[in-house]
């Protein structure tokens, strides 16, 4: 079943076309990679899907419903969650709280907000919910292997742990489609290997569809089932890892730049 459909989306900033006419289909359960040199427009694609930017042209569908131009929190509640390339955790909150915040929309959206608001202020019938959210959060932290840090301030975590927490937090929203923006950036080799394992595991155990942006080619090639390559905002190649790896256009786009990192 088709989960995500991008139809010719374009994003212009003044004269600069950051993303031009990109189309894409992702099916349920897929692990899809979005790669390309720095400044190719990958993060911008994410920003358009999650509603942080409104596309200049084109349409976006999630589970066959159009979501173009909806506000970000609405899109998250529909089932798309993301991580940020330049980590955006709630620094002054603990690791556990970060994950619990992501569940908050389950009691604050729609008509039930008033009821839960009164329950929270009066503390009548609230503690059950709090405990439930806490358990779910601890469980997710366990899945990502950072449950030991639950009570630390998230700002004090190592880079790698922060990236993992971003993933846990995105999962806690209950989304079925995860968008991961360079999840391995700043990790060392063993952390990266562990991450590949974890991403595969959460995809299987939680029935997720994953779209990920990555710079580390080894990771993408080993992990993703399908890959799309962007350069200067345009799609230059799409297919399975083996195909993309041999595509002349891709090699040209990366030559002298990050292609070198493959051999690393």
């Amino acid at each position: 079943m088709r989960v995500l459909l991008l139809e010719g989306i374009t994003m212009q900033f003044g004269g600069l076309t950051a993303v031009g006419d990109v189309s894409l289909e992702i099916n349920e359960g897929e692990l899809f990679g979005l790669i390309g040199p720095n400044g190719a427009g990958k993060t911008t694609v994410f920003n358009m899907i999650t509603g942080h930017y409104k596309p200049t042209r084109g349409k976006i569908y999630f589970s066959e419903k159009e979501i173009t131009g909806l506000i970000p929190d609405r899109i998250t509640r529909m089932g798309i969650a993301r991580t940020f390339q330049n980590i955006r955790l709630f620094q002054d909150l603990t690791v556990l709280e970060n994950v619990m915040v992501a569940q908050h929309h389950s009691i604050s959206s729609g008509g039930q907000a008033a009821r839960w608001f009164i329950k929270s202020v009066t503390r009548i019938g609230y503690s059950v919910k709090e405990r439930e959210m806490k358990e779910k959060a601890l469980n997710l932290l366990k899945v990502l292997g950072i449950e030991g840090l639950a009570n630390d301030k998230s700002g004090s975590l190592s880079y790698g742990a922060q990236r993992l927490l971003e993933i846990a937090r995105a999962m806690a929203t209950g989304a079925s489609l995860l968008l991961l923006d360079e999840p391995a950036a700043g990790m060392n080799a063993s952390e990266t290997a562990q991450l590949v394992h974890t991403i595969r595991k959460i995809r299987n155990d939680f029935n997720l569809t994953v779209l990920l942006i990555e710079h580390d080619m080894k990771l993408v090639m080993g992990l993703c089932e399908r890959i799309m390559v962007l350069d200067y905002g345009r799609t230059i190649s799409e297919g399975d890892p083996a195909y993309v790896q041999k595509d002349r256009k891709v090699i040209e786009a990366y030559l002298g730049k990050e292609w070198v990192t493959i051999g690393r």
Partner: protein
């Protein structure tokens, strides 16, 4: 409104607006560089009026010495405020800077209360009397300050015309300074990109200080003219004009000097016109500016000439 009253109101509105513009320039320049609403700006305006008053009273020298002294002191004060209060917290969150600015504003106001006392003082004897006389076009009667006019003819106080001329000169000077001098160039460069400018060997803190001084000097000019127009000085005289000038700066597009001038003039004219059209609403004239502010902020926060800011994710 008959054409005569209309013209009268127009001239008065224009001169009030040019005072707003003079203050608004300081807000807009500082905001353009530091993204800081310098709350204390209106109080520097007030201080300049007091400096003039006491200089004349204490030294008995002619008013133009006093004016020069007050404008220079305002510049030094603006520079000092930046050095002492804002510079230590340049790296702090933007909101801390705003809170500090509010504190500085109250500090200057209470300082004025302590030094000059909270009682309003008449400014009428400080400047030559003729400024507050009326010009009458189409009539031939001279009217002293505060007297009623029964005769026809378009009338407005001389100070309105003087204000317009002084403002025009100040703006030409500012334009020359920003576009034709090295410091002005550095100011423009700092407002675009602080790190790059400092890499090019410019002492950014000095340029920021100069910006405060320049903006404060203009506010000083405005303060003196204001005190002549409503001939009195008191410690809280800066609050309302300061707020309105801020509204003017936002209206014109904060960060843009031509925008501040335009916003000031439009605000002054509409305010006077509104009171002219609905004399019953005169008590609400100060609320009017805030209404405009809220409408602009909700409809087009970037103002007439400002560029919208995109939040990068």
């Amino acid at each position: 409104m008959d054409p005569k009253t209309l013209l009268q109101n127009f001239v008065n509105g224009l001169s009030l607006g040019s005072l707003y513009a003079l203050i608004a320039i300081g807000y807009t320049m500082v905001y353009g560089i530091l993204r800081l609403i310098n709350f204390a700006h209106g109080d520097i305006f007030m201080m300049a009026a007091y400096f003039t008053f006491f200089f004349v009273t204490l030294t008995q020298l002619p008013w133009y010495f006093a004016a020069i002294f007050a404008i220079a002191s305002a510049a030094v004060l603006g520079f000092g405020v930046d050095r002492i209060a804002y510079k230590p917290i340049r790296k702090a969150p933007r909101i801390s800077a705003l809170i500090t600015a509010i504190g500085v504003s109250f500090f200057l106001e209470s300082l004025a209360v302590v030094i000059f006392s909270g009682i309003p003082r008449s400014f009428r004897t400080i400047f030559p009397q003729f400024l507050n006389e009326m010009i009458i076009l189409g009539g031939h009667m001279e009217v002293k300050y505060g007297q009623e006019v029964i005769l026809g003819g378009i009338r407005f106080p001389i100070i309105s015309v003087v204000t317009l001329i002084v403002t025009a000169v100040a703006i030409v000077f500012l334009w020359w300074f920003i576009y034709k001098t090295k410091i002005g160039m550095a100011m423009r460069s700092v407002s675009v990109d602080i790190p790059t400018t400092s890499l090019m060997g410019v002492n950014v803190d000095r340029i920021i200080g100069m910006t405060f001084a320049l903006g404060s000097a203009l506010a000083g000019v405005g303060g003196i003219l204001w005190a002549v127009r409503y001939p009195q000085v008191w410690p809280y005289m800066g609050f309302i004009p300061g707020m309105k000038a801020f509204v003017a700066a936002v209206f014109g597009g904060i960060g843009s000097v031509p925008g501040a001038v335009m916003g000031g003039l439009i605000l002054g004219i509409t305010e006077v016109m509104m009171v002219g059209l609905f004399p019953g609403a005169a008590g609400y004239r100060d609320a009017f500016a805030f209404f405009i502010l809220i409408i602009i902020l909700s409809v087009k926060p970037s103002g007439l000439l400002g560029k919208p800011e995109l939040v990068k994710v």
